[in-house]
Symmetry: C2
Subunit: 244 residues, 2 copies
């Protein structure tokens, strides 16, 4: 059976305090899209953050000395740099105007996921949800769907362009582990663990373009491995990370 | 319109010298899957390499001193290490048994893409196609489809699990560039370039699992940007690469 990926076209602009599951259910009903236990729902981080009020007003931010220095050197907004630093628990790379950080949840990404695009305009910036797995779990229960993946667009070393990855999961195993199974020739598949939650996020990302895109995407026909779900599984442990 | 991702279920085992477009067309016809200009075909590197004879018989490989030393230290096959080194133009990381290299085509990945799984068994290993963009272009013409993405599963720094990425493209722009366009609030989208070829590869990867998977996947309903297509666009230039 083929996999079908459908974006919700009629979701309204999401604002702080909005009941996101209600907005999603309403848009799905309007578009005659059934949401049940067989459906995986991918939701862009931006609207999860906005609904949860994970928004910072830069006018209230007092930049530190480091934020001011870095911002001046690279033509950035020192208040935005301050928010990025505050949202980081470790700086992975700080070079040539680029800030790659580790967030409090262990994600490694540019700018701790702090972003001004589609944040509401003016001096507003979204930050990542406090606990994206918990956000995904709440959405899953409220929507009555099979699984939820909260996605964000991350850059990658060595490769140009952003790709959507999973920053929160509920209802599915984030990794598909093929270790111990054999290939078609009976050869053991030694190191084959697939980041299925990231592949689902990237697939949904095809319909989540920044402009005129759909921040909520329904995936049908894919058989995931049911589990509570945990983004921590996707994060490499420090002792195995060659690129700390 | 939703995107539909369908794997070809009846493709036979691919062997060196096989006419891959013929095998794909035959399987598609058998499965009543129409392949025309509206369809993007994703093809796993493994079967492209096998059809092109990009296979190495390890019994014919004489390991260098470095390959022997590294293999002995980490319990690897010195002949396989030799092939990996020969397929590299630069070592990015060589630590704790892991070899991350840059291939002659500029791809950065583990083991230069050399792999023994599903290679044909015994002492055989596949290497990457000589010129994956050219492979994709030939497949596109022979299949009469709209675009082709040749995919491989790559690991990533900081994140566990492999994800399929594009190593060869034909008929589509590998990057979707949103720079200069504005968000819903009129804010310029400064750095937003989406690696759409990689997102398509990841989406196809959902049906390309190693075991019992489909190495050929048809994508329908997705509007890509038509172009000759070039994987080089996906490779970060050295002067902008913070993780050389």
């Amino acid at each position: 059976m083929p996999i079908e990926i459908a974006g919700l076209e009629t979701l309204p602009e999401v604002c702080p305090g909005d009941d996101l599951p209600f907005l999603i259910r309403t848009a799905a009903a309007r578009e005659q899209q059934l949401v049940d236990g067989s459906v995986l729902v991918a939701v862009a981080q931006k609207i999860v953050s906005k609904a949860e009020g994970a928004i910072v007003d830069l006018r209230k931010i007092e930049p530190s000395a480091m934020a001011r220095t870095w911002a001046a050197a690279w033509g950035k907004d020192p208040r935005l740099i301050e928010v990025i630093l505050t949202q980081s628990r470790r700086i992975v790379k700080m070079d040539r105007g680029v800030l790659v950080t580790e967030t409090r949840n262990g994600l490694v990404c540019a700018n701790s996921g702090v972003d001004q695009s589609n944040a509401g305009g003016g001096d507003l910036a979204t930050i990542l949800p406090e606990d994206p797995d918990a956000s995904a779990a709440r959405l899953r229960v409220a929507l009555g769907c099979g699984a939820v993946v909260v996605t964000d667009t991350f850059g990658r070393p060595w490769r140009e362009g952003l790709v959507d990855v999973a920053i929160g999961v509920a209802g599915l195993d984030a990794l598909d582990d093929y270790r111990g199974s054999a290939d078609r020739h009976g050869r053991q598949l030694a190191g084959t663990i697939i980041a299925v939650a990231d592949q689902l996020a990237a697939a949904a990302g095809l319909l989540m373009r920044k402009r005129d895109g759909c921040p909520v995407v329904l995936v049908r026909g894919f058989r995931w491995r049911a589990a509570v779900g945990c983004t921590r599984d996707l994060i490499r442990r420090p002792e195995q990370d060659l690129f700390r």
